[in-house]
Structure formats: C-alpha cells, structure tokens
C-alpha cells in the first residue's frame, strides 16, 4: 500500500467512525446537533481524502459538479420551510439514488460494456443500479404526490399489481442472466429501464397517508444502492455509510408499518383506501355536536390538562404557531398542555415533532403514543387538530374496519374532546370516524389555523 493509499484509507476510517458517532448522538436531542456536526466533519475528511486518489487526473468536472451541487444544495438546506420537509426528504432520496445509479452505469460502460466485469462485480453493479433506479423514480413519484404535482390519492387501474410484479420479475430475470454473462449491454440497459419503470409503478398506487412507510423504504433502498456502489468499486466507507442508511430506513419502515398494524406487502400492494366501498359503518342516524368558538374557549381556558393531538391537517393549515399561542394561554391560566404524537401522524416519520419544535414548543412536552395514552383519562380537553384516522375508536372495536387493530390515541377517554376539522369529510382511509358522533365530542368546523386564532382571541377576552 502506497503512503497515499494509506492516507486515503485512514481518512475513510475516520469518516466511518464519525458517521457512527453522529447517528449515535441522535439518541438524545441535546447531543444531536454536536454529533451531526462531527458527522459533517467526517464527510469533509472523506471528500478531501478522495481528492488525493491516484485515478483522479483532472479536476475540471469535479469542481464544476461540486460547485453546481453546492449552489443547488445550499438553498435546499437553508430556505425550504419545515412544512415542506416530507417532499424535501423524498427528493433528496432521489438525488442520492441518481449518484449511485450513474456511478454504476458508468462503471459498467467503461469496463468494455461488461466485457471486463467479473461475476461478483456484476452482482454488486446489478444491485446498485436496480435499487438506485427504482429509488430514483419511486422517490420522484413520492415527491410529486407530496408536493401535490400528482394526485396524492392512490392511482390505480385493474391488474396494476400484476403489471408491477411482472416488470419487477423481468428486471430480476435480466439481473440473473447478467450475473451469468455480464457482457451483454442491451440486457444491462434494459434492466435499468425496467427498474425505473418499477419504481414509478410501485409508488403510484400508494396514497398520501401511507407515505411515512414509503419514504422510509425509499430511504432504505437509497442506502442499499450506496452500499452496493461500495461493493462495486471496492470502497469500505461507502459500504459502511450505505449499510447505516439502509438499516435506518429499514428500522423506520418497521416502526411505521407496526404503527399502522400493516405489513410491508399490504402497504405496497394493498392500495389502502382505494376502494371507498370498504368504508366500515356509515354515519346514518348519528348526530354531531357542533361547538362555537366561545364555548370551546371557555372549556380550554379553565382546563387543568389539555392534550393536543396534531395530524396532517395541522401541517396543511400550517397552524403550529397558533397551537403554541393557544397553549401559552392555557398555561398562563395554570393549565398543563401536552402533545400526543402518533407515529404515523403526518406524511413522514417525526413530521409533527419537527413542526411543533419549529413553533418553539419544548420537546419534553411532545409525547409518544405509549407514554401519553393513559393520561387521556385525566385530561379535561383533548384538542384534535387535523388528525382523523389515528384517533378513530373503530380501530379498537370494529372488526370490519380497514384500520382495525391499528394502535390509536385514546382521545375518547378525555372528559371533553374538541375536534378542529374543515368539514365532515372522512379521512384518508375513507372511513367514518365514530369519535365525531360521541357525546363527549364537540366539532369546531373551519380551517384549523383560523379556528385556533379565533380560540386565542376568545380566551384573551374572557
């Protein structure tokens, strides 16, 4: 090993250690920031180390790419609002996958279009471009849905799963044949094209509320594509970082699926919510109790314990700052305000936490489902802001309901439930929510942000 190669390996080793320490620091919010700065330092070390690589003879394209990437990446880091975080994360999975896929394609191309590729290397390259390509289109599709460029409801057509699986099977068959004989460029490029098509067809039928699982899975795939790149070009730091990312996405996917009481297969191929006919009970003969902002304000003003349950509706209305204002008033009157956060509330893991933290709400008041669920019975008011399926008691009781078995927040145990909701339209799953018809539930109709602002005003006037 030349001294230069040893130096590069040392840089990679240091970077790997710093990455692991960085992720480790995320187990606690007070240490997380420092830890991630260390990880960023690790990245810098790895990049500088790589620039010493003996194969690099010209810096023209490198400088151009680094400059352009920094010019695009900086505003994506600094200016993207927290409310746009799900689509921001989705598109960044795409960028990562683009890099991995292109390295794989170029590697195959420069090695005589496969003529000088060994079987083991072909297997690595195959995984790299398969995972990479399907992540590119899958993430782009997820981005389109979250940014509302595409309809966020599931887009389905008859025989969709059969078509998707056929595309996937064809891509895998080409992969297998390439490992047997790598020197067939037509098969290679066809495999890339099929993987691209599969990524799109995989995400298209998945609806908005299932996005937390999809984003986590794509996170995992992007990581696996990076790791496969490491195998293909024989680079350990890529393997390590890719494995970390892959593991992280995998763990998150499991947590998200479990929080919905569904399997991966069901999320990916179930097209949840696509048949509105699957709606459980209908609401005929039941009445809702509407409440005026004045009455709701009185209840909140004199409550000792208020538990706020945020959902995607809060993110859409961007009402997190009004939530904080309301909470401050309740606290000024001597009450306590906690926030009950369901793991799949919103469009990505941790979505609600980020929004509430942005509104300057201390993180020790943001409670996970299991920690807060037995406190609802002590709560004077449970304030549901734009959440629906995660508070539907049908998940506990109604075996015919599509969400039966999903762990939910026990808001119905609170003395009074106030639901801020735009209209009586059912939530994503297309299921009626019997919570809205209970005697201790009052509905405050209107835009969440406007309703909260009104409540703040009313409490101030009391």
């Amino acid at each position: 090993m030349t001294p230069r190669a040893a130096l590069i390996e040392a840089a990679y080793l240091l970077a790997s250690i710093l990455f692991i320490l960085g992720l480790r620091s995320l187990t606690h919010p007070d240490r997380a920031r420092r830890g991630m700065q260390l990880a960023a330092l690790g990245m810098l070390v790895a990049i500088v180390g790589t620039l010493l690589h003996q194969d690099i003879v010209s810096y023209r394209w490198i400088v151009a790419g680094l400059a352009l990437g920094a010019v695009i990446g900086y505003p994506l880091g600094v200016y993207v609002p927290m409310t746009a975080m799900p689509q921001r994360i989705a598109i960044s999975h795409m960028f990562g996958a683009v890099a991995a896929t292109l390295v794989g394609v170029a590697e195959y191309h420069t090695l005589g279009d496969g003529a000088q590729v060994g079987r083991v290397e072909m297997a690595a390259l195959g995984f790299e471009v398969l995972f990479g390509a399907l992540t590119i289109t899958g993430s782009f599709m997820a981005f389109g849905k979250l940014q509302e460029l595409l309809p966020s409801r599931p887009v389905t057509f008859p025989g969709q799963n059969v078509v998707s699986l056929a595309i996937f099977a064809a891509a895998v068959a080409l992969f297998a044949s390439l490992v047997a004989d790598p020197a067939r460029p037509a098969a290679f490029y066809a495999m890339v094209a099929l993987a691209l098509a599969f990524g799109g067809s995989l995400v298209l039928p998945i609806g908005g509320a299932d996005m937390p699982v999809v984003i986590s899975l794509l996170n995992s795939y992007a990581g696996l594509a990076s790791a496969a790149t490491g195998f293909a070009i024989g680079n350990d730091v890529l393997i390590i970082a890719g494995a970390l990312d892959g593991a992280s996405g995998f763990v998150l996917s499991i947590i998200m699926s479990r929080a919905m009481n569904r399997s991966f297969t069901n999320v990916l191929f179930g097209a949840f919510g696509s048949p509105p006919a699957a709606a459980g009970k209908t609401a005929e003969g039941l009445t809702v109790h509407a409440i005026t902002p004045e009455d709701a304000a009185i209840q909140l003003a004199f409550a000792r314990l208020v538990i706020v349950v945020p959902g995607y509706g809060m993110a859409v209305a961007q009402a997190q700052h009004q939530v904080r204002e309301l909470a401050q008033l309740v606290e000024k009157n001597g009450g306590t305000v906690l926030y009950a956060i369901h793991p799949v509330a919103g469009r990505m893991p941790g979505h609600m936490n980020v929004l509430l933290a942005e509104a300057d709400i201390p993180y020790d008041k943001l409670k996970e489902m299991d920690d807060v669920n037995d406190q609802f019975k002590n709560a004077d008011v449970a304030l549901v802001v734009g959440a629906n399926d995660v508070v539907n008691p049908a998940a506990r009781t109604d075996r015919s309901s599509p969400i039966y078995g999903m762990p939910i927040l026990n808001v119905d145990e609170a003395k009074q439930v106030i639901v801020l909701k735009r209209s009586m339209r059912p939530g994503f799953a297309g299921i009626e929510n019997e919570l809205f018809y209970r005697d201790n539930t009052a509905m405050l109709f209107g835009d969440a942000k406007a309703s909260l602002a009104r409540l703040v005003q009313e409490i101030k006037q009391l």
Binding site: Y12, S16, L23, T27, P29, D30, R33, A39, I47, T50, D55, I56, V57, Y59, W61, I62, A64, G65, L68, A70, I72, Y74, G77, M82, S92, F95, G96, V98, A99, L102, V103, A106, V120, I215, S226, A227, G230, I233, G234, N235, V237, L238, I239, I240, G242, A243, L244, G246, A247, V251, L252, I341, P343, M348, G350, N353, A357, P362, K365, E368
Partner: protein, 101 residues
C-alpha cells in the same frame, strides 16, 4: 467469491448491525432529523462519483460523473444544513425555577 468481497460482506453486515442497534434507540421525536441525517451521510457515494468525474475515462463517463457529483453534493450540502436547522429547533422547556418572561 474472492477474499476481498467476502471481507466487504463482513463490513456490510457488521455496519448494518451497528446501524440497526443504534437507530432502534433513536426516539420518535427525532425521526425526521434521523432521515435527513442518514440521507446526508449516504451521500458519501460522492466519493465514488468524484473518482468517476476525475479519472478521464472518456467523455460519457466524465459527464455521468459530473451529474453524479452534482447530485451527491446537493445531498451533502443540503442534507447536513437542514439536519442542523432541524436539530437547532429542539429545545427543552425552561426550568420552573428559571427566569419568567
């Protein structure tokens, strides 16, 4: 399978284990920063892209390398900045004994 790739497989599996046991301890509170953090970290594929862009293996390889470097750099720069921006927002409640506003 030759020795080097077997060794790589060890590295992959061990790193996967480390990742699994570390990530399972990350609280739900920080799941979004976790995602952007792992995304920034896996942009280490920049390392492969840099060699591709600088190795002069023909025009096509250089152009693909350039696009790959650009994409990966977007994630490195944007990813670490946005993770930091998010983590900066997470703060504790002021202690009851502390100053009142």
């Amino acid at each position: 399978m030759h020795g080097a790739s077997l060794l790589q497989l060890y590295v992959f599996l061990l790193a996967g284990f480390v990742g699994f046991f570390t990530i399972t301890r990350v609280p739900a509170l920080l799941h979004t920063p976790l995602m952007s953090a792992t995304n920034a970290i896996s942009a280490i594929s920049l390392v492969g892209s840099l060699v591709l862009a600088g190795a002069e293996r023909g025009r096509l390889a250089s152009v693909l390398g350039f696009v790959a470097v650009t994409s990966a750099t977007i994630n490195v720069v944007g990813g670490f900045i946005i993770t930091d921006r998010m983590l900066r927002m997470f703060r504790r409640a002021p202690r009851p004994g502390g100053e009142r506003r």
